[in-house]
């Protein structure tokens, strides 16, 4: 039986990846995720793996591409400006249907921004970021334990769907220390067989990995096939957490670190008998539109809390439409909302509605 170990987020994600059978890591230093490549550079050689520091995020994601094409479980981690450099490769990886796991430990933007925790890469991660019609599974973990569990799941789903999976966390979760129970290490021989991998065409037809098709009719066909896969992911992989939603008349939607902070606000409000609840999306793509639609009849209003100027709020509005007001409370630029701020915002908006 595994024991509980105190782990920092950015190191827990590394150890969880190793437990999931990841033996290859390519990455470039950027704050606030440097402990992940540092940890990997120490650990991977101990388990027969390879750590290589790329000359840039661009090179790193293309090294990931090569290792993935060779059939390996492979990962990279970065933070916002680095993720921007990787989206070219992510578009290709998606088009080639190559599995990999990419953690973006988000920081304040735009541009160089700062190194404080933020959630302002939501659009970039969930709506594409790179060119072309592609989707990545995007997880928004809110605790170190959840980060560990979702890292393992990320590798499994990446292989299952042959698709990149993004762990969209932020600097607060990355730097936080919490007790976790690490999962059992998978046996490498039990990992999924990859007959499509580039291993050298010995005794078989050649395998090609490319996101390239000159004939529009054929590229359209490829695109519809990809969309069919994305539809299947939407059907089978939507995940979220509900907190005090049963009798809630007011729903807050928040993910990751702001989801966790919102939980404290909901708890405080419940103590004052205010009927609020929380929906915390765990998959940001596919987004849990369904649960929000279901809650509309029992709810007077929605509030979206984000560490950004308002990005996920657009998905909540897509679900709710004009049927209920959707309020927003956000702190961009590396600022983190407090439970007190959120409580105040709830009360303010409630008073507008004659609650």
């Amino acid at each position: 039986m595994s024991e509980r170990i105190l782990f920092k987020g950015v190191e827990a994600v590394a150890e969880a990846a190793i437990k999931a059978g990841c033996r290859y890591f390519f990455g470039y230093p950027i704050t606030p995720q440097n402990e992940t490549p540092e940890y990997m550079s120490k650990r991977l050689p101990q388990v027969g793996g390879v750590f290589l520091q790329g000359e840039s995020e661009t090179a790193s994601i293309n090294m990931v591409m090569g290792a993935s094409a060779a059939g390996a479980r492979v990962m990279t981690t970065t933070s916002s400006p680095g993720f921007s450099l990787m989206v070219e490769g992510i578009s290709y990886l998606s088009g080639m249907e190559l599995p990999c796991v990419i953690a973006n430990i988000m920081r304040g933007g735009p541009g160089l921004g700062n190194i404080a925790p933020a959630q302002s890469d939501y659009f970039q991660a969930t709506k594409g970021g790179g060119h072309g019609d592609y989707r990545n599974i995007v997880f928004g973990p809110s605790t170190v334990k959840e980060l560990v569990d979702l890292t393992v799941l990320a590798f499994d789903l990446a292989d299952k769907y042959r698709n990149p999976v993004v762990l969209l966390a932020d600097g607060a979760l990355g730097q936080m220390m919490e007790p976790v129970v690490l999962p059992e290490e998978v046996k490498l021989e039990n990992l999924p067989n990859k007959p499509w991998a580039l291993t050298g065409a010995l005794g078989r037809e050649k395998n090609l990995a490319m996101a390239f098709e000159m004939v529009p009719e054929k590229l359209e066909e490829i695109n519809w096939r990809l969309q069919k896969k994305y539809d299947q992911i939407i059907k089978e992989e939507v995940r979220w957490e509900e907190y005090y939603t049963d009798d809630a008349e007011y729903i807050i939607v928040a993910f990751g670190t702001s989801g966790r902070i919102t939980k404290s606000a909901v708890k405080a409000l419940r103590e004052e008998k205010v009927p609020v609840g929380l929906v915390r999306p765990i998959t940001l793509w596919p987004f849990p539109y369904g649960i929000l639609v279901e809650l509309v009849p029992q709810v007077e209003a929605f509030l979206v809390v984000e560490m950004s100027a308002g990005q996920m709020v657009e998905d909540v509005r897509l679900a709710v439409g004009d049927r209920r007001p959707v309020f927003f409370y956000g702190r961009p630029g590396g600022m983190v909302p407090t439970p007190k701020d959120i409580v105040q915002k709830v009360k303010e908006t409630m008073s507008l509605l004659d609650f």
Partner: protein, 246 residues
Amino acid sequence: MKTIYARPVVMEDKLTHYCSGCHHGISHRLVAEAIDELGIQGRTIGIAPIGCAVFIYDYFKLDFIVAPHGRAPATATGIKRVFPDRVVFTYQGDGDLASIGMAEIIHAANRGENLTTIFINNANYGMTGGQMAPTTLLGQHTTTSPYGRDVKREGHPFHIAELMSNFKGVVYSARVATYDPKTILASKKAVKKAFMNQLEGKGFSIVEFLSNCPTNWGMSVVESINFIKEKMVVEFPLGVYKGGEE
């Protein structure tokens, strides 16, 4: 009857998309002959570039990946780190390798990645219609240097074979051409050497081909060959810059 010339086994029975008289076909064949002669078809993996040679995967019976523009050496690194016992090569043009992918090639070379790179220098961007490349000669007219490449405006052409020979991780760097039987035979030797080095685990090898582009240069094939002989070879001398003597 004795067969004295045949399609290399590793090549597909296909017509290529290359323009009439283009030297890519010769370079492809030399790579194929090296793979055949070394008996490494079943364990060789290729990385295609973005540019005219993007379709190379169609002409070889090999596993191939089409890397993003310029990133082939990084992608090759990823594959090679997973399979150190496979033979991994990139085939890249001058826009791909010497412009957008300069960082990737330099770092792969300097790390001494045990890879082979075939570099086609035809002094322009062929696929996109003949724009100026990092290797375009001074005074050469292209669609984006219509008044001729001017050193004050665009600087000097890049000398890749010489540049690569400076890195400690590089075991072999040569510049060859394919405009007559003599140069073709020398090229073949260079390509084979570049693959042999990898098989022997020696490190990074690169062969730069001075190649032609009759279509975009606006020349007949004969004129394009004369341009290589009279102009390109002067700017880019042929020879083995590193790892020749043994």
